[in-house]
Subunit: 307 residues, 2 copies
């Protein structure tokens, strides 16, 4: 299986929810993505941490098969994020963001990195995403995510980036803000016209929409009894989706739809505990068990397989 | 096919949305329910209108096979509701409610009505719902809906009613308010413990959850390009669901899941135009076409039919 390259944040997160909290725990978009994608394909991580980044986190990631050759360590402090959630978990309230060493981050790719066939540009500055992409030799599948902050601040750079992207992950609110369309179908169609042949609109506990081949497909979230901490769910979704899809063909719509289920399944593990606590313990068989269960949940007793 | 009895409001609705408006158009929970359910089974409507209720509305309902023998006409004005929606259609803002003749409504069932095997108690005063139910002889399937207003005002009467109900339709916000649970699974479980073996939690554009046999099933909404007016979507869902299910067995989970799809499909017609304009024109084949399409949308290329 070809490796997947991911560039994004590696962070120490402090999160409070009505059920508890965690302090300076492993987090960051590149971390959540990697810990999900590694079940399906080798992962190479591009990022930066400070000299205070705990050795145990490095060891955890490496023990899960994540290649950290591209994780720079520079003198200073690791990126830190503090957030809290209300009871309904609908949105994180950011209490503090300390970019620290991330502020001066200039990703440099090795020869091996440049040859990766799948790349995920997590929600960092679109200009940094661009910088990574422009170093790649001939990626077969380019995916990216973004966030409100960059939509407000760097929309032109983001649009420019999207013209080179195959799969765009975006949440519902961001899709509407970016396109100024209130219908998800029209928003997805417009985003797709800007470049990505596949657009995934994430709706948190309400599941996710897939726009591909001119059609909109809706899938529920894999149901879990209790959400403990939704931090990282979106990046985990992308990791499950791209991991499952890596080496496949984006024109195989049913495969892309199965990737949606695996995205949702991986995210379901992440939200069941703080930080990466549950995600890091998951093996492929656990994901496959939830996949079988997901198919069973959707089973209406009539073949869904089109003639 | 055994007839379905519905008791609920018959109204003249005035609705404003960002896309347009309608004035004193046909509406009411019993009307939306009937126009959806009539595709699948004969419907008998119990309700009240004033002497100003347009003859054309009567003719429309009768031409669609809805039995109006139980629709009382009394001197006075028909129930009127005025509401508006913001761009995201998330919730209706009620501008005016004039109960008019509905205020003194005391439903009386004829012998034929009392023998109906399926009954839907739409979101009217739980004490009125109870009054209807207590007149029934031996209904095989009892379903009801409610709304925030009755949850605040008459929770004990509503709980009492639920102990006699098989299928409870409730929206997400109401389910949480009624049970004081923030997790949908726990809310559904608690509601089911109060009586209904099947609980349907409606989430509008995000689809609906089904709790049955101790499990929670999630289904997306049937996607439509543009929502014009969501008024009546919930009652239409109930009409499609119960219409499809009438005569079936609630323990046949896959059949109940198919009923969820038909509920969503019927609602998708309602929201595509103001009032009942699109719903009233739909024939069974149009619903079946959307059903095939719905199966195709969910098709992931692997059998969903459990072994």
């Amino acid at each position: 299986m070809d490796p997947i390259l991911v560039v994004g944040s590696v962070a120490l997160d402090s999160v409070k929810t009505p059920d508890g909290e965690c302090k300076e725990a492993l987090g960051g978009s590149a971390v959540y993505f990697s810990l999900a994608a590694r079940l399906f394909a080798p992962v190479q991580m591009i990022g930066v941490v400070g000299s205070d980044f705990p050795q145990e986190h490095r060891e955890l990631l490496e023990s899960r098969g994540v290649d950290l050759a591209g994780l720079e360590v520079v003198r200073g402090k690791t990126f830190r994020w503090e957030g809290s959630y209300q009871k309904d978990f609908n949105s994180a309230k950011t209490l503090n963001t300390h970019l620290n060493v991330f502020e001066a981050f200039k990703p440099k790719l090795s020869t091996a990195h440049k040859q990766a066939s799948v790349v995920f540009l997590a929600n960092i500055d679109p200009e940094l995403q661009w910088e990574v992409l422009s170093q790649m030799e001939e990626p077969q599948l380019v995916a990216c995510d973004t966030m409100n902050y960059w939509i407000s601040l760097k929309k032109p750079a983001l649009k420019e980036l999207l013209s080179k992207v195959d799969v765009f992950f975006v949440n519902e609110e961001e899709a509407r803000k970016l396109t100024r369309e209130s219908s998800n179908l029209r928003a997805a169609r417009k985003l797709s016209e800007w470049g990505p042949s596949v657009v995934v609109i994430k709706k948190g506990e309400h599941g996710a929409l897939l726009y591909a081949g001119g059609r909109l497909y809706a899938f529920p979230a894999y149901p879990v009894e209790d959400v403990k901490d939704p931090t990282g769910a979106g990046d985990t979704f992308a990791g499950g989706f791209l991991g499952y899809l890596a080496g496949g063909d984006l024109r195989d719509i049913r495969r892309v739809k199965r990737a949606m289920l695996f995205g949702s399944i991986m995210a379901s593990f992440t939200v069941q505990d703080f930080s990466t606590r549950m995600l890091e313990r998951i093996e492929l068989t656990a994901a496959q068990d939830r996949y079988k269960d997901f198919l069973d949940l959707l089973d209406v007793g009539e073949s869904l397989i089109a003639a």
